[in-house]
Amino acid sequence: MCQATGYAGISLQPNAGSQGEYAGLLAIQAFHASRGESHRNICLIPSSAHGTNPASAQMVGMTVVVTKCDDNGNVDMVDLKAKCEQHSANLAAVMITYPSTHGVFETTVKELCALVHQHGGRVYVDGANMNALVGVAAPGEFGGDVSHLNLHKTFCIPHGGGGPGVGPVCVVEDLVPFLPGHATGGVKSGVGAVSAAPLGNAAVLPISWMYIRMMGADGLKHATEAAILSANYISKRLADHYPTLYASANGHVAHECILDLRGFKETSGVMAEDVAKRLMDYGFHAPTLSFPVANTLMVEPTESETLEELDRFIDAMIAIRDEIRQIENGTWPQDDNPLKNAPHTAATVLSSAWQHPYSREVAAAAASNPVNTKYWPSVGRVDNVYGDRNLFCSCVPVSELAD
């Protein structure tokens, strides 16, 4: 992990990325305190950051100051510089994600790190996007002081439906003494424990160990490059159908691309969520919906998908674009079409009382999905608002099952 990040020390204790982030900020805080600078409590966070960043900063008692992004989605260096100067005496840290949550390798990152260091702050590089960096660039080399890794994102621990993850925190030399301790587990440090167990989710670590051992340095670098290649392939092939929102000057993205669906609301009433639901009829779990930009889809194919699978996804997205066109040109009404009614259950498609302006074949995406990968959900579109207003979070009692 230290080789991948370019850092000097690591703690495997944090058992999720959020805890790694928290431990990293604690290290920065303890470092400042050790130098008699406990007053440094300002944490600069770009507006494009994942919400966990400000939530973690709040948990260590730092005051969050949000910095702007420019029109291309990059950190606005002018604003960052102004905020650094304004808060120079109290600057504790900046938290950035690299490549950015917008899926772009910002060219100013080295400059940004130097600027923050100049004002006495430390640089937290969120490891959420390490999939684009391993073997290619190391945060510890380009100016980062602390990063957490998500082993469940970058080092092959399966996601488990939402855990277990592992969020080890890696730091530069002078922060090593401030990695989390664990008195009960015999780990001494000036900083307290962040997890119940000294090695956190220890039992899944052999998965990452095996992965690294079987890939070697070349294999890991190849994986990063393949992830970047796949994202750019998707972005390029979908460019005429769904523009990629943010790219670098030469039109390339990092390891993920944000597909801009915001225009369809005006032309057809279609929201990104409708496309996400319709993707199920084509046999896909949708990519990230409405993060980091509302009404977009962020696609991160990773290195593992085959070309066949990438093409299947791209073809499904193009077929859905054609369906949107039929709403745009009035063939289907905005409130009764295959997207708004997606996903289609077997019960609705088999029902003899079919009353939609499109066929059952269209509903099941039979023609446009020749490999017939449709996922047949057991339920139709779920009403989130109803559930939040009538909150019920247990099994339906047996008394309710009686007729």
Binding site: G135, R213, Y375
Partner: protein, 578 residues
């Protein structure tokens, strides 16, 4: 002799075999993809994307790639350096048997272990049903109104409970009173989390300190372990009243297995309950991963941290699961979020929920009774050997005041292949669990026995059946005829087949169903069981909590006075006199 290959041996050994298995893009595919993108080579593509100024100065220094077989052999060689002892340390970690059917169909089933967080509800119903099972199991056993779909571990769950309490109570103080008999790692994490928030942790290291702290006006919450880390079972009812009079919150860190026998904290009006579900089928794993749980009173539900699965309706009016109250979460509320937790412990939570399904309420209770009985037997023997226990109540953990002999006992235990727990230099604790056998009891006695004769005497079970003296564990619970742990029909509640769907397609991939049926095969005609597998659950909108509250009150009538803890000695006597 065969023709020697024209290929070099190194190539045939194919040490980098796994790389091509892991990376989906073949060389030919790559050429095609690059042509679509308009770059000449992978190198050229990367150079055009990664700024030159940040490119690595040198490659990573790692051992060269090796085959899966060779890597596994290395890993096993490392693992073999471990010495496998019987563990009686307890402290939140216990031996458990992972049922084979859960191991095969869930833990080793990629449909369960590779899935992403269920953001797209319609394609994730099976997983969310398992999580609703988890939440139901937790609310049933804790007696609380609502539970989330897992926390990272018991210590961070307790720390999150502290901040939930701070957000929710009227008390203005900045102090949390923590019982000194909580698990030490929980105390540590709470101290870590409290400090940057400007909160004070007041440790109460004795009953007197606890009572005194509770009389103060400076706290917003208190935390007690139930049963405590040294094994004591406290009657917390009066303390809850005291704390509520101060408008502060009462947090209980509770053991779910013990709660199948003890009065659940929800019934003595606790505000937040946390704990680990590790002993429900997840191996200790050197500390993790295990799912912790968090449950709270209804009034706190909108600031409960973590992921929460709820029942809603779909476009056709049928019940459907989805992640509830997402607006509490950090991707919406950022620095005003209730917590920074995102990824939790879903797979271990599913295992724990399926463990409860597998054993059913009666099975869980039987395991708990067995643990409690072994503990009573062990206690009786230790007393006969002349040792003093620190508590007259226990569920699974006993603490012996060993004084200056503590170190020698620990060393003797190690020499016999047993890990015990040493506290404060003079107390030796040991915890029993689902995996405990009669041999383990004999082993522990032999550690504490001063000579072989005393041990022999006990193993024959003579002289142990003095009912008067066996009453030291009078607060242990006697099961027959007393309140069943389910507050409603848990038999059905733990097995709702309302939306029958696993993560794959078709009933043959319904892992929940497989576990369910394996557990229930012997009573397939049971009417409740049949009710449970009826096609679809008609949800009654508008009165979502009716089923819960009504049955909760009915069950309360069964609670025995005096904290619901009853005499236990008969099982111990029977066994000892055998």
């Amino acid at each position: 002799m065969l023709m020697p290959s024209v290929k070099p041996l190194g190539e045939l050994e194919n040490a980098s075999e796994f790389i091509a298995r892991h990376i989906g893009i073949s060389e030919a595919d790559e050429t095609h993809m690059l042509s679509v993108i308009g770059e000449a080579s992978r190198r050229a593509l990367i150079d055009s994307i990664v700024p030159r100024s940040i490119a690595r100065s040198a490659g990573m220094q790692l051992p060269p790639a090796t085959t899966e077989a060779a890597a596994l052999a290395e890993l096993k060689a490392i693992a073999q350096k471990n010495k496998l002892y019987r563990n009686f340390i307890g402290q939140g970690y216990y031996g458990t048997h992972t049922p084979g059917v859960i191991l095969r169909n869930i833990l080793e089933n990629p449909a369960w272990y590779t899935a992403y967080t269920p953001y797209q509800a319609e394609i994730s119903q099976g997983r969310m049903e398992a999580l609703v099972n988890f939440q139901t199991m937790v609310t049933d056993l804790t007696g609380m109104a609502i539970a989330n779909a897992s926390m990272l571990d018991e210590a961070t769950a307790a720390a999150e409970a502290m901040t939930l309490a701070k957000r929710s109570v009227k008390a203005k103080g900045n102090t949390i009173v923590v019982g000194g008999d909580c698990h030490p790692q929980t105390i540590e994490v709470i101290q870590t989390r409290a400090k940057p928030l400007g909160l004070t942790v007041k440790l109460a290291n004795s009953a007197a300190e606890w009572a005194e702290a509770l009389q103060g006006d400076d706290y917003f919450a208190v935390l007690a372990q139930y049963p405590s880390t040294s094994g004591r079972i406290d009657d917390l009812r009066a303390d809850v009243q005291t704390v509520h009079a101060k408008q502060a919150a009462f947090i209980v860190a509770a053991d779910l297995l013990a709660l199948t026998l003890l009065v659940p904290p929800g019934e003595f009006d606790a505000d937040i309950v946390v704990g680990t579900t590790q002993r429900f089928g997840m191996p200790m794993g050197a500390g993790g991963p295990h799912a912790a749980y968090m449950a709270c009173r209804d009034e706190y539900k909108r600031s409960l941290p973590g992921r929460l699965v709820g029942v809603s309706v779909d476009a056709h009016g049928n019940p459907a699961y989805r992640l509830a109250l997402q607006t509490r979460e950090q991707h919406i509320r950022r620095e005003k979020a209730t917590s920074n937790i995102c990824t939790a412990q879903v797979l271990p939570a599913v295992v724990a929920s399926m463990y409860a399904v597998y054993h059913g309420p009666q099975g869980l209770k039987r395991i708990a009774q067995r643990v409690a009985s072994y503990t009573a037997v062990l206690a009786r023997g230790l007393q006969q050997l002349g040792w003093t226990l620190t508590s007259d109540s226990a569920f699974d953990t006993l603490t012996v005041k060993a004084g200056d002999q503590a170190t020698a006992i620990m060393a003797k235990a190690l020499s016999k292949g047993a890990n015990l727990r040493l506290s404060w230099g003079e107390y030796v604790s040991m915890s029993l669990d689902e995996t405990t056998t009669r041999e383990d009891i004999a082993l522990l006695w032999s550690v504490f026995a001063k000579d072989a004769q005393a041990l022999q005497h006990l193993r024959k079970g003579r002289g142990a059946a003095d009912p008067g003296r066996a009453a030291t564990h009078q607060r242990l619970y006697d099961a027959p005829g007393v309140r069943q742990p389910p507050q409603r029909d848990r038999h059905a509640a733990l097995h709702p087949q309302s939306v029958r769907q696993g993560p794959g397609a078709g009933p043959q991939h319904d892992s929940a169903g497989i576990v369910h049926h394996e557990a229930q095969r012997h009573q397939r005609d049971d009417p409740h069981h049949l009710a449970g597998i009826r096609g679809r659950a008609p949800l009654r909108p508008g009165r979502p909590a009716a089923g819960l509250q009504g049955t909760g009150r009915a069950a309360a009538g069964l609670v025995v006075p005096g904290h619901g803890l009853r005499r236990h000695q008969p099982a111990a006597q029977r066994w000892l006199s055998r």
